[in-house]
């Protein structure tokens, strides 16, 4: 990921979150997104009891599971995608069940650059070293998920570990907009992490939000629920594709403004 996020350069990243295995997600959609300007993809692994996800992504998980998604199929799907940048999103809980080393090697095999465990530092802080160790072994980039409620000391320490990026979850759960002054939180986090790449996400859907984030110091944004809401519509004709394309372009424009 360092190639498009070299920290010092002002290049900015538009990342999209999609649930792997959700029938709404297919090569077609991913192509449209890529072509319209999405720089990187984050694929979530569907599960029955997601901890921090909002209703839109939960519904997407359910669709995926009802659609018969399995870990094997998911990794196959990802491997097949011809994408420059992709990472995996799932809970550390889940990976532990499989076995961290095993899980990480699946990730590596799928051609993903890293895996984001949103609960790693919250519920398994003691396993941080182990995570970094395994990342190294699997040639994966460490990525850290934090929230505005993280200790400042820990955030500083994470930055020193030179992750591919830090992912700041702006809201309490995905897709759920709360009246939080995100620009202030981003500014504070930025002040702690120097030029460590900072991507922010959760409930971003509008260009104006993106502009706020960037102005406050984010290097990129992750759009999840907003896209899933769009692509999970019944109607998927040409108007739909056009809308999707325009939407991405508008986000991209905001990002680069």
């Amino acid at each position: 990921m360092h190639d498009f996020l070299p920290g010092t350069s002002k290049e900015r990243v538009l990342m999209v979150y999609l649930t792997a295995g959700d029938p709404c997600v297919n090569g077609n959609i991913i192509n449209i997104l890529s072509e319209s300007g999405v720089d990187a993809f984050e694929f979530g692994i569907p599960m029955a009891k997601p901890k921090y996800d909002g209703l839109v992504i939960k519904a997407s998980y359910r669709r995926a599971l009802e659609n018969g998604a399995t870990l094997e199929k998911i990794f196959q799907f990802m491997r097949d995608l011809n994408l420059d940048h992709k990472i995996i999103f799932t809970y550390f809980d889940y990976a532990k069940n499989i076995g961290i080393e095993k899980f990480m090697s699946y990730v590596q095999n799928a051609g993903a650059e890293g895996v984001l465990f949103p609960d790693l530092l919250i519920d398994y802080l003691d396993e941080l070293d182990k995570y970094i160790e395994i990342c190294k072994q699997c040639s994966l980039e460490p990525i850290f998920f934090i929230t505005s409620s993280f200790p400042h000391n820990l955030i500083i320490k994470l930055a020193r570990l030179k992750p591919a990026f830090i992912y700041l979850g702006l809201m309490a759960s995905t897709g759920t907009l709360l009246p939080i002054t995100i620009s202030r939180n981003i500014r504070i986090i930025r002040g702690l992490i120097g030029d460590t790449p900072l991507l922010v996400g959760f409930a971003i859907s509008k260009p104006s939000q993106i502009m706020d984030c960037v102005r406050a110091g984010a290097d990129g944004v992750i759009i999840g629920s907003a896209i899933i809401r769009l692509i999970s519509q019944e109607e998927r004709g040409s108007a739909f594709r056009e809308n999707l394309r325009n939407y991405i372009i508008s986000l991209k424009r905001a990002l680069e403004a």
Binding site: L55, K58, S148, S149, A172
Partner: protein, 423 residues
Amino acid sequence: MHDPPNYWYNIVPDLPRPLPPPRDPEDDYIFSRIEILPKLFPSELLDQEFTAERYVQIPAEVLDSYRRIGRPTPLARAVRLERFLDTPAKIYFKREDLSPAGSHKVNTALAQAYYAKKENIQMLTTETSAGQWGSALAYACAMFNIKCLVFMTRSSYLQKPYRKTLMKLYGAEVLPSPSDCTDVGRNLLKERPEHPGSLGIAISEAVETCMKNEGVKYAIGSVMNFVLLHQTVIGLETMKQLEEIGEKPDIMVGCVGGGSNFAGFIFPFVGKRLRDGEFKDTRFIGVESKASPKMTEGKYVYEHGDTAGYLPMLKMYTVGRNYVPPPIHAAGLRYHAVAPTLSLLIREGLIETAAYTQEEVLDAARTFARVEGIIPAPETSHAIKQVIIEAQQCRRRNLQKTIVFCFSGHGLLDLSIFEEHTE
């Protein structure tokens, strides 16, 4: 110290590990408690709930209202108690009882009413049982000229008429819950016209009222980060006051319901310890009721912040929201869980805990009233019990410790509890 501090202290950025975020029940795919938060709370409060800032500025209007309730409140020394216990320890107490509504609860009530007013909210609603929180909110709403609707469990409504009168005097509407103003209430009344109510039902009624009415928001008396944040005005003042008299606290004690007064009292000290090692020998002791022993016997798990289950789940020490504590005078300590930040610090071993029975606590209250002449609230009496134990310990070991506790409220409207036992 002449003026209250002009900021609140947010301990979250200084915690030893990340604060687990609020969550929705994992298996609920239909209804998100997190999503409805903006329907329930004024925006700025939710913003405070999730702020990464260490110091949050207190708005000038809130500062004014703090001055009006007598902030900075005095830090008094319990010389007579020291003498009575014949202890070499020095005992100080922070007097949160002197505000018009009689407890620390008003510190957050004023902030919540202010933000509501600022956001053009017409009415705040809440639940109350014993009435301390209800009166604090009624007072605050009177101060910021917004309407206040309090659902009071019918049993308290009938048994504690004074609290109800006080709230009404402040202009609040007080309804016995279940009431016929909500669906929840009407259904329950249909089954049982004299339903005694419960805190859970009262919360449900308040939440239903918010959900159905634009311009009505919910106010909450403990547990949420923003509540604890507002309460840090207690500890910030205490720190300054101790500095002024050249004292360092060896032991700091507070009672714990949801944890707001105790947290507000100690967090500025705990924060300094976490940041730069100051107060590293200070012991922080939270005292709960044996009737709801979440800290001493509860589990550290995700649980709803409210007994009704309308609020998101938070990671807390809890006895479970369905646990029904025996009726005790210290209604404010019947709460089923401890605020997330406080829970985390307990888990990390930074805070000690203790639990006492009603009888033990009433004895301590009686001693304090007799010796110091100030009537503690039943909740506050739990802290006093612990203070007495520590001071006695100091006597036995001849230790000249400085003990400081939070005198969270007065018991003038709870005098009946002594009556039953005084005769």
